[in-house]
């Protein structure tokens, strides 16, 4: 009996040692092996005709996040671009693969990157995501392509996608965040968009007293409530405070940051958000507003696309306004600062650069996607702010939509901007605040002070872990 047990154990050990051995080798070789296999694939592809570039059919995948009814327009734009690229690159067939944005960013793409098989073209967040991937050599360096196409200087800001001086992704559009409000309701009360913070809070209280829901809420995914919370703590503690967390210059438990949390908590406690909102998905956020149940909704400018014919907010066309958070008492720094991001766009897998035809397709994709025409289409049809520099005159000429002009006016009247927290702090901190802390705050399981302390602890761990 004993003998067989030893035998069994040693058998297990030997086999697994063998396997781990192989695994280890593969691992070390991964960097070199990967291009090799893609080369092989390319070689077998091309071998048939003995020509590097041919009309031999090949397939590339585009991972996009334009899923669901509200993103039809965006999908249409992408489909047009894809169509053009397919015409330009003989033999190419694109496969469109739509995944929910948050799922793609936090699960799918991360898993695929680890596995070394991301799609050739994919929806990518600039910071911190693209930097992590770029550091590991998973992303295609776009600098030479941009030079060749001469569009490098056309983008208003490529910082989030830049790592060690090279560009690894391109923002598809920009966004700004603020309050959408129901103008019809405001008019019926004789109100205007609030000019002071006190006025805003008075309005919230009045809406509540009126039996309506003042603010849309859907906090099942933490990033939704965090848009507003982020803007609030940046009002109290300064627009640049979030950027200083990762460098250690500022702390999450700074009294001014905590004031921001406390204000959010105060609004929760006063019942300004819909009850039970912790269990709602983002889709419901919009529904609360479009159905007229909630009067205000803090969201990104991308949401303006909902208020167009044929979309879910059709009934509110012309009845929606947009305003920035007014200055708070004792706030630090620029009180007109807007939360603005150019953090989302497209990236390309490093392996696409190994294959000449795939590289040609990538070039064509960039050429057709990132140009003035598409940027304007994005703006006009879909409410996405341009990520590329566009002449003011051309802009005004193209904006016919009231809401859009109002948004542009708000953007122009703000003197500075800051990016959202998730592009400034480490993934750990993002997970902690969005999966745990903000929901605990809303659910009443933590206090603003405790939340600040808990976040600071994670922040310090993350800062210390930097290699």
């Amino acid at each position: 009996m004993r003998k067989s047990l030893t035998m069994l154990l040693s058998l297990m050990f030997v086999t697994s040692a063998l396997l781990t051995g192989c695994g280890g080798n593969n691992n070390n070789a991964a960097a070199t092996e990967e291009p090799a296999t893609t080369n092989e694939a390319a070689a077998t592809n091309a071998a048939a005709t003995e020509e590097p570039v041919s009309a031999e059919p090949f397939e590339m995948t585009v991972r996009h996040t334009q899923v669901g009814a509200d993103k039809q327009k965006r999908l249409a734009i992408l489909e047009d671009v894809v169509g053009k690229v397919q015409e330009e690159v003989p033999g190419l067939t694109f496969k469109l693969d739509g995944v929910d944005s948050d799922v793609n960013r936090k699960e799918k793409l991360r898993g695929e990157m680890a596995a070394g098989n991301p799609p050739e073209i994919f929806d990518l967040f600039g910071s911190p995501d693209s930097k992590i991937y770029a550091k590991e050599g998973k992303l295609l360096d776009l600098t030479p392509i941009l030079d060749e196409l001469g569009i490098k200087d056309k983008f208003s800001n490529l910082d989030p996608f830049t790592y060690e001086g090279k560009i690894y992704g391109l923002p598809i559009g920009g966004s700004g965040e603020g309050f959408f409000y129901n103008k019809e309701y405001y008019d019926s009360k004789g109100w205007k968009a609030p000019a002071t913070f006190a006025e805003l809070e008075q309005q919230l209280a009045d809406i509540k007293a009126d039996g309506k829901v003042p603010l849309a809420g859907a906090s099942k995914a933490g990033w939704v409530p965090l848009m507003l919370a982020n803007h609030l703590w940046s009002r109290y503690a300064g627009p640049d405070v979030t950027a200083k967390f990762a460098t250690g210059e500022a702390k999450w438990n700074d009294p001014n940051v905590v004031k921001g949390f406390a204000k959010y908590k105060e609004w929760v406690d006063k019942g300004y958000f819909k009850k039970g909102e912790l269990g709602f998905e983002y889709a419901e956020y919009t529904t609360q507003f479009t159905s007229g149940e909630a009067i205000l909704m803090y969201d990104g400018t991308w949401k303006s696309s909902v208020f167009k014919a044929g979309q879910s907010g059709e009934g509110l066309i012309g009845k929606v306004g947009f305003f920035n958070i007014p200055a708070v008492d004792g706030g630090v720094g620029d009180q007109t600062a807007l939360m603005r991001d150019v953090n989302n766009g497209y990236g390309f897998s490093a392996s696409a650069g190994e294959d000449e035809r795939q590289l040609a397709a990538v070039k064509s994709f960039i050429k057709n996607m990132f140009n003035e025409e598409m940027q304007l289409r994005g703006l006009v049809e879909d409410g996405v702010l341009p990520a590329m520099k566009i002449d003011q005159a051309v802009l005004t000429e193209n904006i016919t939509d009231d809401l859009m002009s109002e948004i542009v006016a708000v953007l122009n009247s703000s003197q500075s901007s800051f990016p959202a927290f998730d592009s400034l702090v480490q993934a750990d901190v993002t997970t902690e605040i969005s999966n745990i802390q903000i929901q605990s705050l809303i659910g009443g399981q933590t206090t603003p002070e405790k939340m600040g302390d808990a976040l600071q602890k994670i922040q310090e761990e993350a800062n210390a872990a930097v290699e």
């Binding site: 297990m12 086999t15 697994s16 040692a17 396997l19 781990t20 695994g23 691992n27 070390n28 991964a30 960097a31 936090k106 699960e107 991360r110 898993g111 990157m113 680890a114 992590i132 991937y133 550091k135 590991e136 050599g137 998973k138 906090s219 099942k220 009850k275 039970g276 909102e277 912790l278 269990g279 709602f280 993934a427 750990d428 997970t431 999966n435 745990i436 802390q437 929901q439 605990s440 809303i442 659910g443 399981q445 872990a465």
Partner: protein, 294 residues
């Protein structure tokens, strides 16, 4: 004469395919997890750094991890303390009715054949605060709507109820099979001696089905330790991480947070906890019940 069945080459050929898969997908992963659990690999990088016991220290010192351990514990407690008595009760009832036995058996088993994912969706619908079944029923008796899945006080309970709904019938059918295989003479003899139905159930049937109940408990523990999909589908671990279980905690760290090494540490801990709980159960309870035969 049995040369044909002694040919080692043929033996090897017969055994190898299954064995290779088994080693690849059971044995190797254990060692691989063990290896990465001592590293700080981010899952993307080409370099793997040794981190010693750091990951284990971090996990055991992380409040969130213990919340997830506790939730696995709730799964076990709920099934052992609430489900098992119900299972025994309903099995005895079904065994003793004469009519409709087949119908009961078929119907109670039905939830167990369905995908946990689909059941999670279906129950999400029942828990929906505004139009869901539960709140409508509560509304009839004048109770305010309960936010089942978004209120930290109820979210875990809601998941446990759904889980129980799915699996109770499965175990009932198992216990029922054991009851029905008890030789009828025992029961008849007792009936002749004047024992009531209740007495017969508790004094004769129950002791005889103790081994199968023990199996049910073992399976519940095993099921509880690997629970993940029901949580992912119903709450994604929320609100505020209150329904996280060990497996979802592991996935979150390994994939969402770029902490593959740490995720594997959790895998190793899950493995160890499962062994400990199983061993404890065997030592404390299963021993003395082992030798009941009929």
């Amino acid at each position: 004469m049995n040369k044909a069945l002694r040919n080692p080459l043929v033996f090897i050929l017969f055994v190898i395919p299954a064995l290779v898969l088994f080693i690849m997908f059971f044995i190797y992963p254990i060692f691989s997890s063990l290896y990465y659990s001592f590293t700080s690999w981010n899952g993307v990088s080409d370099t793997v750094k040794y981190a010693g016991l750091d990951n284990f220290k971090k996990a055991l010192g992380d409040e969130r991890f213990w919340v997830s351990v506790k939730n696995n514990g709730w799964f076990i407690l709920f099934s052992v303390c609430i489900q098992v008595p119900l299972i025994v009760f309903f099995s005895l009832l079904i065994a003793n009715v004469k009519k409709l036995k087949g119908l009961y058996k078929t119907a109670v088993f039905m939830p167990s054949i369905m995908s946990t994912a689909v059941i999670g969706i279906l129950w999400g619908f029942i828990y929906e605060p505004n139009i869901g079944l539960f709140n409508k029923v509560l509304g009839l008796v004048g109770i305010e709507p309960v936010y089942w899945l978004s209120d930290e006080r109820f979210a875990m309970l809601s998941i446990l109820i759904t889980n129980a709904w799915q699996w109770t019938g499965f175990y009932i059918v198992m216990v029922l099979a054991a009851i029905l295989s008890i030789p009828g003479e025992l029961d008849e003899a007792a009936a002749i001696d004047g024992a009531t139905g209740f007495q017969r159930a508790t004094r004769i049937t129950l002791p005889l089905i103790v081994p199968i109940i023990s199996v049910v408990i073992m399976l519940s523990i095993a099921g509880a330790m690997k629970a993940a999909d029901i949580v992912i589908v119903m709450t994604k671990g929320g609100p505020a991480g209150s329904t996280e279980v060990m497996a979802t905690y592991m996935i979150k760290y390994a994939i969402t947070n770029f902490k593959y090494g740490y995720g594997n540490t959790i895998a190793v801990l899950i493995f160890m906890f499962t062994l400990v709980v199983t061993a404890l159960y065997q030592l404390l309870f299963a021993r003395r019940n082992e030798r009941i035969e009929y």
